[in-house]
Structures are given as C-alpha cells and as structure tokens.
Symmetry: C2
Subunit: 411 residues, 2 copies
Amino acid sequence: MSVGIRHDDLRRRNRAMVISAVRRAGQPSRTEIAATTGLSHSTISAISSDLIQEGILTESKPSETASLKRGRPQVGLGLNPEATAVMTVVLSLNFLSVAVIDYAGQVIAEEQRRLDTLTMPRDELIGECTAIVRRRFEDPDLDVRSVARIAMGIQGITDTHARAMLWSPITSQTDIPFADILEGEFGIPATMENDCNMMAVALQWRDPERYRDDFIAILLSHGIGMGLVLKGELFTGTHSSGGEFGHMIHRPGGALCRCGRRGCVEAYAGNYAIWRNARMMSEDAEPADVGDADMRALAARARESDGPEREAYRKAGEALGFGLGSLFALIDPAPVAMVGVSAAAFDLIEPALREAIAQTAGGQHSKSISFDTEPNELPLIREGCAMRALGFVDQEIFAPGVQVKPGKHVA
Amino acid sequence: MSVGIRHDDLRRRNRAMVISAVRRAGQPSRTEIAATTGLSHSTISAISSDLIQEGILTESKPSETASLKRGRPQVGLGLNPEATAVMTVVLSLNFLSVAVIDYAGQVIAEEQRRLDTLTMPRDELIGECTAIVRRRFEDPDLDVRSVARIAMGIQGITDTHARAMLWSPITSQTDIPFADILEGEFGIPATMENDCNMMAVALQWRDPERYRDDFIAILLSHGIGMGLVLKGELFTGTHSSGGEFGHMIHRPGGALCRCGRRGCVEAYAGNYAIWRNARMMSEDAEPADVGDADMRALAARARESDGPEREAYRKAGEALGFGLGSLFALIDPAPVAMVGVSAAAFDLIEPALREAIAQTAGGQHSKSISFDTEPNELPLIREGCAMRALGFVDQEIFAPGVQVKPGKHVA
DNA sequence: CTCTTTTTTTCGAGCCTCGAAAAAATACTG
DNA sequence: CAGTATTTTTTCGAGGCTCGAAAAAAAGAG
C-alpha cells in the first residue's frame, strides 16, 4: 500500500502543483492557478510568494494581454530562467548532441558531433559522451553550478529506473550504466531515457490538445520503436523501458529481424527490412544499415512506379497495421504519431496499414484513428529529454528531502 | 494536472490508508499499522479510535497470537462485519449467481441459477438479473439497508467506467447498462466489471506474495480473456475493460474467430478452436459451444495417444505462446495464472507454449516465467467482485463527499 | 475625483500530524 | 508476591497548513 500522507508533504505537493501549473500555462495569474488547482487564493498567494522569494518564479509585470478589463490587472507568474539549468545528451546512430536548457525551457548552448557509434569500443563511446558534456561545463559563459540535472536519451532499451542502457541498435555494447557514469563524473543527478519515450513526452508538450491522455508515438527508422502514453502517463515496462512494439510477432517464423528472432514487426517495417524487400533480397538477408538519403530515394521510386519498392512499403504497412491492431486489442485505439525518416513515406505505408487494422480487433475504429507524421526525430527526443529533466528539477527544488518511502501497493 | 490537496483530504486519505491496512493485514495492531503506513502512533491512535466509534473497525481482544512477549500486549484491529455488506452478481454462460458478503469479506447468503443466456431475449436477461437480486433483498434475515454496493461481473467487454456491458459471448445482446439498471432498481451504487479483471483482483488477495505488482490472469475457456495487473494496479483499456488478449492477431488472415475476424489467438486456443482442430474440421468452421465435460474428455484422449487431439492442444499452446511473447515485448514478462477448464489441460499446452515464447522477445526469460493453473473460474470472479465492492465501500465510508475534481493530467 | 470591479494579501480560526511524555498492561526477577 | 522492565497505546501541547472573510491594491468608468 502507498504510504500515509504526512503533514509536511502537504505543502510540498501543493508547491509542486503550483510550479507545474506555471510550467504548463506559461504566464498564469495567481487567480488562474487557484482555479486550475482548486486551492484557495490565500494558499496560492502564500506559496507563490515563497517561490518568488526563493527565485523559482518571477512576476512578469503588466502589458502582455492588454488589460481591457476593469479592476486590478492580473500579474502573470513565470518560471525564472535563471533558477537553474539542465543538460540533455542525445546519443543516436553515428550522432551525439548535447544542449543546455534554462529553467524556463530555452536552449542556451548546444554542441553536436558525428561519430561512428557502431564500431566504437565501449570505453571510447563512454568517453565521447562524457567529453562532450565536459566541454559544455568548460564554457566560461555557463555557470557550472547552475546545472541541476542531466537527461540522456538513447535509441535502445533502458531499464525501468532510467539508470542504464541495456541494449541498443547503435552499438554492439550492452548494459552501459550511463546515468551512474555521468553522475560519477560530474556529480549531478542524471537519468538514462529511452528515445521513443522522450518523443512521446515532447509531443505531449508540443500539442497538449491532441496528445493528452492516450496516444502512441512510433519511430519508423532503422528500427521500430514506440513511446506510449496511457491515462496521461508514460507507459513503461516493469523491468525495461518497455513498449518494444517493433518486436511484437507479426508472422511466427517469418523474416529475420535485427534482434536475431524471426517474424517481428520490425523485420518487415524497419528501414533495413523495406530496403531488403525493395531489392528483392531474401527475408533471411542480414540486416544492413541504410542511410536516410537512400531511404528517401527509395520512397521516390516507389511513388513513381508500382514495382518492388512500392510492394516493400505495402508489406511494411501490413506489418505495422497488424501490430497496431494487436496493440489496440490490448489498449483501445488512440491517436498515433509516426516519427522518423519513413514517416515521410507514410503515404506509401498508410493504405496497407489501414487495411490491416481493419481486419483486427481495433478494426471497428480503423477509419477514425488519426495519424500524424514528423520526419525528424532528433529535435523531439531532445525536447523530451529537456522536459523530463526540468520535471525532475520541479520535483526536487521544492522537495528538499522527504520522499515517499517505498511502500507496498494499494488495493 | 491533478488537483491540489486540501487540508481535509489529509484525514480522508489517512483514514483510507488505515482501513486498507486492516483489510489487508487481517488483525494488525495499531503499532503495526503505524509501521506500514509510516504515520505516527498518535495519528493512528486518533484515526482508529474514530473508526471504532463509527463502527467500522472493532478491537479483537487478546488471545490470538499467544503473547509470549513482555510488555503490554498488542490489541488487534479488525473490520466490523456488521459495518455494512455488499452484493456480487456474476453472469456467465448459462449461469447466474448472487452472493451477499459482509464487511469483513465473509459470504452470508447466496443463490445460483441456471438459465439459457444465449437464446434469452434482452428484457428477460435483464429481468433474471434484477429478480435474483430482489430475492436476496426479500430475505428476512438480511437488513436491506446494510447493502452498500453491488458489483456485477460478466464474461465480456465492459466500458472503462464499469457501467455497462458492451459485448459478451454469452448473449447476442450488446450494450446493456447493467450498473444503471441495478442502481435504478435498487437505489444502491453498482458497477459492471469484466470477469477476467475480477479474476486478477481475486488472485491479488488470495496470494499477495505471488500476485503482487505485475502479473497476468488468462481465462482459457470458450473464449480467451485476460486480466492484467501492472505496477500493482489493474490495467484497463482507455475506453473498454481492455486487455483483449484473445483477439491479438496470431496469424494474419488465419483461422476464423468467434468475433468474425481471422487469425486471433482465440481462434486457435479457445475451446471451440481446440475442438475444431481435434475433430480435424476446417479452420473456417463456425465456432460451436463445447461443454466442459467434452473438453475434459478431449484432453484425456490427447493424453492417451498422439493424435489430432494432441495436435490441437499443441496449436493452442503455440498461439498462446506467440501471443504472450508479443505481450511480453510490450510489458516485460510476469507470472501468469491460467484459469478455466482448459487450464486443467495445461500439461498439453505448456510445451508448445514455451517453445513459442522462446522464439519471441520475451524468449530470454521463457524458462523463468512461471505458470499457475486454476480450473475453476467462477469462485475467483465472485471473490474479485466482492473485494472490488468492498474496496469501493472502504473509499466511500470514510470519504463523505469531497471527491477530487476531474482534473487535467500532470507532467 | 469618486465609484466600481477585479486581483492579491492579510489575519484569525480550525484541523491535522508530530514528538514527548504519561498511562496501561503484561512478563520477568528475586 | 511485589517490584522492575518492556512494550503498546493514549494524552497533550506545539507547529504548520489551508481556508474564508475582510482588507488592501490597482486599475477602468463615470
């Protein structure tokens, strides 16, 4: 069962609520905050004056929404950009990037770097990651002590506690405890996040109307990944980052997947699988890396004529459709965002995908399921990491100590 | 975002915590409750003396665990059986049962009845359900006003809010708002629960060691159903009861399922599917009802000789294995309880099932996944309904009013 | 310049939890 | 059998938190 509520938790939680309301709403007045949180004006007044005093919030004086109304004008509350900063590190295939983000969410410094992740030995890979972070800290413009959190995102499987990369397609290395490494190196709390989960987090912030309580973000790239939000919360597996949509079984004993098994969705819909089918290679052919440019050229050819390229995309759509259908049997249909280079070829994928879904339990709603596409995953992953890190800071700045004890579950 | 915590919520929640601790632990002393909830002894003392005064808890004097220790002996706190009562109604294929359960969880009255659910018209089906409940209320031994909740369980799909049956294999009727019907008829709050979810709830109470944070209950009967507990909480779909494991796609375009689609797991592992395969009928053959006795005879024949019967169970195991494998790709492996008549034939199913799982993303753990079997689902469903109803009562008795406002989700 | 309206702050009241100390209830000891 | 030690439970005052009501502040309207 979850633990009882102590008297001191009360303030802590309500402070959290106020900060979260401000981060979400932009420049809300105290009155608006009182309305959305359900707390009384007196309480909001007390909490926000504390937060301002502590330098967490700032009053953003007048102007803004031209006050045409009578009465005392509202004064907006905003996050103080200088309250603290966070750092994001995103490691993807052959590419490493880092960014420093202020408390209000603005990027204040960044650096990107190409490197050959696939062949790189373990130590070198870790070394590159720590080095790029170190260079940011050496930047004289940046006050080192202002960085309160590092969130690292990686393509691959991470553990539930967001401490380590367990497996990744971008390197042959496994089980790298990046969070511990970064914390040890820089003495700043760090987490290791799954790329697709961060995409989902970012979508939630980018378009809260559309991506709110339930939605799915699917990465269509070299591999197939998924970030899933259910009832407003990121869904993770019980041991790992979870949601290995790409490795649901599409055809038992079917095409060879990069993971070594057969018949996974990814073995039909990953870049290498589309490439393999478009070239009419065997379904057992070893998965090969395909560049984004090659994939775009492939899509162009598929649009031109009805040859094996188009058929390859059709097969990808079918695999994705049946996979989504099975998923929808479990969680009910939800809006889907397709992200990554093959999302730019979604026009080639969609017909077969919808046809497949229509044959599944999700089928009755197949027409109403809406798809969005976003070809570029990296900015999304970075945004997600930033929001995640800021979220942790929000929770920690106001909660000096006093964390819930690990309790048993509740009925 | 979720709503702020009011000062009065504090007591409400801590009262809930105490009641829940007592329901879970049996006869805990105040000291034990203080330990598990993390609240101070003074607080527990205050809350429990309130609860005793209100007739919700009782002090179960001494004896019990022979107090060999020095010092003042602990006095156990228990639920007062007379505090209130709940009623469960379970509707399954050709069978309707009702039970009255006291606040401590003991059955105090019950009635069961056979009826032909498949052919029964809508009004008659509803009429039978209300009539059996009415008969309980007419029992002079029962104080009508003591029943505070009705939980109805049904095989089939229910909506997220536990108000209505949307679809069920036991009748051709759809969208029956049983919760509203019972509330309207008897003026007592009611819910409409999915059978497999209730099985999962019951398992959690029966064996909290084994079935705690993450586990799966699978109903192997006429159809294939699933109840899923993740991170200690019942997992439901966003619109429906969710977890339609039986209708994940095993083989695209494959065998005909009772739901009208093709290739579902159920079309290979449901009773009718096993029967169809054992008789070497076409996979397109219309699903037919098979009695439990016939299924037991089939299993016996399969054990005797390696004929089509054994092959039918093998196919069922394969379908279940690949389905579980896909599920484990999404949620990580967890203990599984197999429930229902075909769980008694699990020895015939298990080899192929494990072989299939080994070929999937869950494969690396296939050996460590443990299966439990329970051939009789009805008692589980009833227990689950009872615990669910009592849980609601626990929440409502101490929370007179003051419910959280429907809020937006939190970061 | 005064009145009206709206936002924000102030202030006392009422709860709630906590820690410390007291009270209660039993086993151990000689 | 009386006194001591030990453990559980209750009591009591202190400190904090939120709330509602009223006051204060800051504008536009007339």
